[in-house]
């Protein structure tokens, strides 16, 4: 054991001396690993970034809100079973809230009805199209995560009376009002005028796909009064304790079955959706990105490993006589094997450290250039890179080290 330790120390010293003696060669060889590690690290960072971005997008939905809807948030193969389901009505909110109030130890807080469709919004000569217009009640604010840039949300009275007021998203305000404040000004939707009482602060995009700021929210009665019923409705239900999401879902399912008066033998004719379920539907996509990315970057690392293997073979060849001498002095096969394995590992570690520093600088640069892109450079990534470097060194160094350890001392000593 002690001898192994001494041999190990000796091997590291030899490896260091060897790299110092062949600086150019070592750097060129390590370059392959550097590129590989940069690729792997950036890929890992990008995947981490996607994850973070995804989580951020998801957070907008609130992880403690259940959505009662006609369709589930996942791919369904038997779409015909869902198509003919009864539409979700905003009226369901009232009986649900009544039942929540009547249930002791309920897991639910409040049910909020919501109806929405896409419309153009005008102010003076400016017009923005494809804006999500949502009608809901004052309690909507409980289920949402947005903040106000200025103004406020509509209150209970405005909500009940269907006042012609609205809260606009950041993008809407920006497009229609430019530098002036939208507060107390009136926007036109389908020819009806609504007074702006609040402006939301920026929420960003959902997975970079669509803006969460292209939205107008108004009291539900106003929405129903002015716009045709051809809108999709759903019920948002806030949960008390998000760790008890499953119990809450069960409870809500029971309530919905009572609202719909479903006999026990009938299946649910509605879906209760939550953010976590959506997350799991997106997992396969994320995973395939990760697999494809890691395959490509793995390939570059593989090329780097071949470079290391090649140079270790050269090193063994060059130092055949030295190997012979060491064997004559009592080096065993294992000693020689260890020596060259450590040499290749040291090269890979050097490449790994340099590659990691490059990747770090690049991440920093990308983060500075595109602040919206969520970049994540973690300690875990550093450890994984180091581990990958060491493994690369061991794998690529094995064949040459093995051949060195098997050299016949007589032949090796005679080698010039």
């Amino acid at each position: 054991m002690k001898r192994f330790l001494y041999e190990l120390t000796e091997s590291w010293k030899i490896a260091a001396a060897q790299m110092r003696a062949n600086k150019t060669r070592s750097m060129l060889t390590a370059l392959g690993v550097i590129i590989g590690i940069v690729a792997v690290t950036l890929m890992g960072t990008a995947i981490g970034g996607i994850q973070t971005g995804f989580d951020k997008s998801m957070a907008v939905f609130g992880d403690d809100v259940l959505y009662v809807e006609q369709w589930p948030w996942r791919q369904v193969d038997d779409w015909w079973n869902y198509r003919d389901r009864k539409k979700i009505k905003t009226d369901y909110a009232e009986p649900i809230n009544r039942m929540i109030a009547a249930t002791p130890n309920t897991n639910l807080v409040v049910a909020v009805p919501s109806s929405a469709f896409f419309r153009s919004v005008k102010y003076a000569d400016n017009e923005v199209s494809n804006i999500l217009v949502r009608g809901t009640v004052a309690d909507y604010i409980i289920t949402s995560t947005f903040d106000f840039k200025e103004g406020r949300f509509f209150n209970e009275a405005e909500s009940r009376d269907g006042a012609s007021v609205c809260v606009v998203g950041y993008d809407v305000a920006d497009a229609l009002f430019a530098s002036q404040s939208p507060l107390d000004k009136s926007v036109l939707i389908n020819g009806h005028s609504f007074k702006v009482i609040g402006v939301m602060s920026r929420q960003g995009t959902f997975l970079g796909l669509f803006s969460l700021d292209a939205i107008v929210v108004m009291p539900l009665p106003a929405f129903q009064k002015y716009f045709s019923a051809k809108s999709d409705s759903d019920i948002l239900v806030k949960v008390k304790d998000k760790t008890k999401l499953a119990e809450a879902t069960d409870e809500l399912t029971g309530l919905m079955r009572r609202v719909r008066a479903l006999p026990p033998e009938k299946k649910d004719d509605f879906s209760i959706n939550e953010q976590q379920a959506l997350k799991s539907t997106l997992d396969p996509i994320k995973n395939s990105i990760a697999i494809a990315g890691l395959f490509i970057t793995g390939l570059s690392l593989f090329v780097g490993a071949i470079g290391i293997m090649n140079i270790t073979f050269v090193s063994v060849k060059e130092r055949t006589k030295e190997i012979g001498t060491r064997k004559a002095l009592g080096a065993r096969r294992r000693t020689i094997l260890l020596q060259f394995l450590i040499e290749s590992t040291a090269l890979c570690l050097l490449g790994g450290v340099i590659g990691l520093s490059f990747a770090y600088v690049m991440c920093f640069g990308i983060g500075a250039a595109f602040p919206s892109f969520p970049i994540k450079f973690s300690i875990g990534l550093v450890l994984v890179s180091m581990l990958v470097s060491v493994l690369t060194g061991l794998v690529s160094g094995f064949a040459p080290a093995w051949s060195a350890s098997r050299l016949d001392p007589v032949t090796a000593l005679r080698y010039e």
Partner: protein
């Protein structure tokens, strides 16, 4: 030098009985050793001579446990070497044999001390003892003031002294020197031979492999090889040599 310099030999270190070594070279089999028997005792000073192709190098490789015979018996300090595997042979080489090569075979980028330490590392000696022993061995060969010089900062004679220190450092049973003066001028060669003489006087067992008569004459016993067989085995220094029975 006179017969009185001959020190009394000790117990048998090397006992070779009728060993052969064959190499297959393409279609042909080369019989490098055809049946060699040899006994070497502790505290002998022996020269192995012979022209190239005589089997001299092959015999040296056998004696040095770098190679195993094709047939025959080889005991080193009572241990059967002929059937040892690579790692067991390495252990014997490490503890029992000190090699001195014609081309010195020092590690070019390591200083004298690190070069001499090498066999101790493979023996598993701790760093402090290692440094002490290596420095002592270098002092013993007269290089106490050169322990941090690298081989390219030393003369040929000094390099060979480092190599001899490296051979001595593990206190081996035999020192096996292969043409130790072959790469040195004759004056330096004589200095190296004087060093071997003093090592012999201190009680070391030395085996010289050489084709030079002048060098072989320093030894107390000369074994001459020809065509893979022992041609003669004489005890005595230089002209005073007398033939010994081959049994």
């Amino acid at each position: 030098m006179t017969q009185s310099d001959l020190r009394p030999p000790g117990p048998i270190v090397i006992d070779i009985d009728n060993i052969t070594k064959n190499y297959v070279m393409g279609e042909e089999t080369v019989h490098a050793l055809r049946g060699v028997s040899l006994q070497i005792r502790r505290n002998e000073y022996l020269a192995i001579m012979g022209p190239s192709g005589s089997g001299k190098s092959t015999l040296m490789n056998m004696l040095g446990c770098l190679d195993t015979p094709s047939s025959g018996h080889y005991e080193f300090n009572g241990k059967n070497v002929a059937e040892m595997n690579d790692d067991e042979l390495a252990a014997i080489r490490n503890r029992e044999i000190g090699f001195v090569f014609q081309t010195f075979n020092l590690l070019p980028r390591s200083d004298s001390l690190r070069n001499v330490e090498l066999p101790l590392i493979y023996a598993g000696i701790d760093p402090a003892t290692r440094t002490k022993q290596a420095a002592q061995a270098l002092t013993d060969v007269g290089l106490g003031d050169r322990i941090h010089h690298k081989p390219n900062e030393l003369s040929g004679g000094q390099r060979q002294r480092v190599a001899i220190a490296r051979a001595l450092v593990n206190n081996p049973s035999i020192i096996l020197a292969d043409e130790p003066t072959g790469n040195l001028d004759s004056k330096t060669g004589e200095e190296i031979m004087a060093l071997f003489e003093s090592l012999y006087q201190q009680g070391h067992t030395i085996i010289l492999v050489t084709h030079e008569k002048d060098i072989a004459e320093h030894a107390r016993r000369t074994v001459k090889l020809r065509d893979g067989l022992i041609e003669s085995d004489q005890v005595g220094v230089g002209s005073e040599a007398r033939t010994m029975a081959l049994s």
